[in-house]
Amino acid sequence: MAIEKMKFVQVSCDLEHLNDALMTMYNSNLLHVEQAYNVIDEDNGGKLVKSDNVYSEYCNTLKNICHRIGMDINVEKSKNTYTNEEIESFINELETKFALVDSNETVTLNEDDKIALEKLSECDFVKIHKCQYISIGLGRIPVESYKKIDMHDNKFIYVNLHNANRYYWIAYATSNTYVKETLKVLESLFFEPIKIPEINVKKVIEEYRDKIIDVYAYCEQQCTICKLYDYVAQFDDKYVISGFVPVSKVDAYKQKFNSIPVTVDVLEAENSGKCSIPTLLKNNAFFKPFELFVDMYSTPKYGDIDPTMFVAITYCILFGIMFGDLGQGLLLFVGGEILYRKTKNRLAGVVSRVGITSMIFGFLFGSVFGLEEVLNPVHQSLFGVREKLFNVMDGSNTMTLLIGAVLIGAVLILVTMLLNIYKNIKHKEWGEVLFSQNGVAGFIFYGFILVGIGMMFLANNNIFSPLTIGIFIILPVLCFFFKEPLSHLLEGKGITPESGWGNFVLETVFEVLEIALSFVTNTMSYLRVGGFVLSHAGMMLVVMTLVEMTGNAGPVVFIIGNIFVMCLEGLIVGIQALRLEYYEMFSRYYDGNGKKYQVLTSIE
C-alpha cells in the first residue's frame, strides 16, 4: 500500500552526444520523460529543440517500395550509418530498379497467379523478354477451355504451370510468325493473359534485401531520435533530457550513461517545477493485480494514499461472502492463477485471489459445488455444532445474514472515513478533517447512531438522550452545515462564504439533507452482500434439484449447472463488489487524479 518515491533526473550533454543520450534514455525503459515545454520557462532561458524529421519520409518511401514489390521488412538493428544523400540515392536506385514492376501495378495478381509466375521464373524473365524469334506468354485459361486446346491445329506449344478449381495457368511459346494466330485461338478459349514481368522481382529483392532492411532500420532509428527531440530542452550549448525515475532505479539509470559524456543531476521530485510527478504503485505480489481496479477508476496522486491494499482486502472479503463455495472457489483460484502466470492478465490475478476467500467462506457456509451437507461432519468435529456452522438456506438465519451484511457495510463506511481523515491530515486540509461528512464530524455522527441503535437492540440500552443527541448528532450536523465558513476560519480567511450567505444557506440545507440520506442509502447498499449469499445458495439449490430430477444424466447436469452458476454468478458478484468499492467506498476517501508513471516506450 504505497506509492514509489520518485526523483527528478536531468541528463545534460552537448549536441554531439545528444543522439546517443536520447537512444540510451529511450532504451533504458526507466525514465518517465517530460516534454521540454514543461521544463523551460522565461526565467531559466531554456529553448525547445527543433528538428525536421526527414527520416519519417524516408521510412514511408521505403515501406511503400517494399509493399509494392511484396517484400516484408523485419526491422533489425542497423549495422551501418548513412548520410541523407546516401539514403536518397539508394531510394532513387530502388525506384529505378523496381520501376518496371509499376507498369504491372494495375493488375492485381492473386495467389494462384503468383504460384504460376513463380514457376515460370525458373526460366529467367529477362531471358524470356530477350527472345527475338519466339514469343512466350503466360495466362489463365478456364478448365473447360483447357480441354479444348488440343482440338485446334495448334501452332504453339504450351505447358501447364498450375491449376485450381476453375482455371489452368499455362505458358505458351510460338514462333513470331504465328503469334496472331495463337492469340486468336487462345482468345476464343477465353484465355486471360498475365503480363510476364521484365525482371525477376524476387531475385532482385534478394539482392537488395539486406541493404533495404539496414537502411530502413537506420532511418527508423533516426526517426525515433527526431521524435525524441520534443523531450529535449536547450540551455545555451547544453541539451537537457528531464524526467522521473523511481528512487530504487536511479543508480541503474545513471549507469546506463557511463559510456557517454553526460552530466546526470538527481533532484527531489518536488523540485521539478511545472512537471506533475507521476505515480508508480508499489504493492506485493498478492495485492498487485488489484491495481487494475485502482487504475480503472483513477491513478492516485503522487503523495496520496494508495488504496490498492484496502481495495484488495475488502473486494476479496465481499466477493468471498457473496460467492461462498469451497469447490467453485478452488476452481476460480486454480484457473485464475494458471491464467495469471501464463498471461500476466491482472483480471486473472484478481480471480485467483477472490477464489481463496470464496473457498474460506464456502468452508464456513459448508458448501462444496452446491452440495450443502458434505462438510457437515467436518463442521461438527471442528466447531462442535449440531449440523453446520451457518446454514444459509435456513429461514431463521436470513435476518442474521442481512443484518450482518449491513454491519459489514457500516464498518467499511467508518473505515473509509478514517482513511479520509488520514488523507486530509496528510494534506493539512483541516476543514475537511474536522467538519466534513467523511471527517471527524461525520465519523462521530454516523458512529454514534450506529452504536446507539446497536445498544438499543442488543443490550436494550437507550443512549439517545437530549445531551448525547446534542453533542453527537446536532453538533456534527452543524459542522456539516457550517463547514465552508469554519474551514475558512481555520485557513485564516474571512468567514463569509464565497457565494454569499443567502446562497450558502439555501445550498447547504439541501446538502445536509443529502448527506443524511446518503448515510442511510450507503449503509442499505450493503444489503446486497447478504442478498447475493442467498441468491448463490438458491441457484445452487435449483441445480441440485435438477440433478435429482434428471436421474442418470445427473452428473452432466451437475457439471453444467456448476459452470453456469460460476460464470453467471461470478460475473454478477464481481461487478457488484466492484460497485461497492467505487460508489460506497471510493466516494468517501479517494480522489485519484494522479498521473501514471509510464516509460517512453509504453507512452508511444
Binding site: 489463365r140 478456364p142 480441354k147 479444348k148 476453375r166
Partner: protein
C-alpha cells in the same frame, strides 16, 4: 419413379425456381458497366454463386461467363435427376440432343468459314460424356466425309448425308436446321409416347406442341415479313404439328394473312392469356413470352412431376438467355433500357 421421389423432385424444382433472378436483380444487372461487374453480382448475390465460385471476376471473359451460366443448367438438371429414374434420364438426353444439333450445324458452318475457333469455343465439353459422338474427333473434321465418319453410328448420319456437298456457298442451312429440329421433335414424341399415357401424356405433349406451334408462327412471320418467301416453301419449313391452331388455320395464315396480321391472330387465340403486355418489339419476344408464361403457369398449378421438371428447364433456358443478352448488351455498350426490352421475366 416412386411417388415420394416424384414429389421430392417436383418440390425441389419449385424451390430451385423460387431462387431465380427477380425483377430487381435484372434492374441491378442492367446498371452494371462491365462484364466483371455482372460476374461479381451473379457470384455474390444469386444462385449462380456455386458455378461461379473460384472465377477471377475482375478479368473474366464474356464467353466464359456465358459458358458457366449455361453449364449451371446442366448441373441443376443433374441435381434434380438424383430423384429420378430412367424415364427422366431420357428427357435429359433430349436436352442434350438440342446441343448436339447446334454443334453439328456449327461444324458445317466451319467448313464454309475455314475457322473452327467459334465452333470449338461453343462446344459444351462439360456434357461430353452424354453426347452421342466424339467432340474431339468432330473438331478435327474439315469436310463432310470426315464429319460423317464421326457421326456414322448416330441417328444424325442419314440426315447429314443428304446435305453432303462440296460447294458450301449454296449450302441450305435453313433446310438442314429444319430437318434436324424435326428429327429432334420426332424423338421427343417417341419418348413421350413410350413413357406416358392418359392425362400425363396429354399434358407433356402439350408443352412440346406449344413450343412447336409458337416456333412455327414466329417462323411464318419472319419468312413473310423479311424474306418474302412463298406459301409452299413456308409450309415445307414448318413442323406439321398443331395444338390451338388447326392445320387449316395455319394454312390460312400462310396463304391469306400479312405478317403484321399474325400478331392479331395471336392476340385472339387461346394464347392471349399468356401474352406479354409489352409493346411489339420482335416476333420471337412475343412467342417466347407466351411460352414463358405458359410454363410458369404449369409450375404453379401442375401436379405432374415430369411436367414441372420440363417447365423448369424451359424457364431456366429463358433466364439464361436473359443473362446472355445482358452480358452482350453491356459488352457492346447497348443502353440499359434497350437491353431491358429484350428480357423476359
Amino acid at each position: 419413379m416412386t411417388s415420394m421421389a416424384a414429389n421430392a423432385m417436383s418440390a425441389k424444382a419449385k424451390a430451385m425456381l423460387s431462387n431465380r433472378l427477380t425483377a430487381n436483380d435484372y434492374q441491378v444487372l442492367l446498371q452494371k458497366k462491365s462484364v466483371s461487374e455482372v460476374a461479381s453480382f451473379l457470384k455474390n448475390n444469386t444462385y449462380f454463386k456455386d458455378v461461379l465460385d473460384g472465377i477471377n471476376e475482375s478479368a473474366i471473359h464474356r464467353g466464359q461467363l456465358e459458358t458457366l451460366v449455361r453449364m449451371d443448367l446442366y448441373n441443376r438438371i443433374s441435381r434434380l435427376l438424383r430423384y429420378s429414374d430412367k424415364k427422366e434420364e431420357e428427357f435429359y438426353r433430349l436436352v442434350v440432343s438440342q446441343s448436339e444439333i447446334s454443334i453439328i450445324v456449327d461444324c458445317i458452318r466451319s467448313f464454309h468459314t475455314n475457322d473452327k475457333t467459334i465452333m470449338i469455343s461453343k462446344m459444351p465439353t462439360y456434357i461430353q460424356g452424354k453426347i452421342s459422338f466424339n467432340l474431339k474427333e468432330l473438331s478435327k473434321a474439315d469436310n463432310f466425309d470426315e464429319l460423317l465418319a464421326v457421326l456414322k453410328h448416330t441417328d444424325y448420319y442419314n440426315i447429314i448425308k443428304k446435305y453432303k456437298t462440296i460447294n458450301m456457298d449454296e449450302f441450305d442451312y435453313v433446310g438442314l436446321e429444319h430437318d434436324l429440329n424435326r428429327f429432334h421433335f420426332e424423338k421427343v414424341f417417341d419418348v413421350v409416347n413410350r413413357n406416358y399415357s392418359g392425362q400425363a401424356k396429354k399434358e407433356i405433349l402439350e408443352v412440346y406442341l406449344v413450343e412447336i406451334e409458337l416456333d412455327n408462327i414466329a417462323k411464318i412471320y419472319r419468312l413473310k415479313k423479311y424474306f418474302n418467301v412463298g406459301p409452299n416453301q413456308i409450309k415445307s419449313l414448318i413442323i406439321p404439328k398443331y395444338l390451338y391452331f388447326s392445320s387449316r388455320e395455319i394454312d390460312d395464315i400462310i396463304l391469306n394473312k400479312k405478317a403484321d396480321d399474325i400478331l392479331n391472330v395471336l392476340a385472339n387465340s387461346p394464347y392471349k392469356n399468356y401474352l406479354s403486355n409489352k409493346n411489339f418489339m420482335y416476333i420471337e419476344y412475343h412467342t417466347k413470352s407466351i411460352f414463358y408464361n405458359y410454363n410458369k403457369h404449369n409450375i404453379s398449378f401442375s401436379n405432374n412431376t415430369d411436367l414441372v421438371l420440363m417447365s423448369y428447364v424451359f424457364l431456366s433456358k429463358i433466364e439464361i438467355q436473359n443473362i446472355v443478352d445482358i452480358i452482350e448488351g453491356i459488352r457492346y455498350r447497348v443502353a440499359p433500357e434497350k437491353i431491358s426490352r429484350l428480357l423476359i421475366y
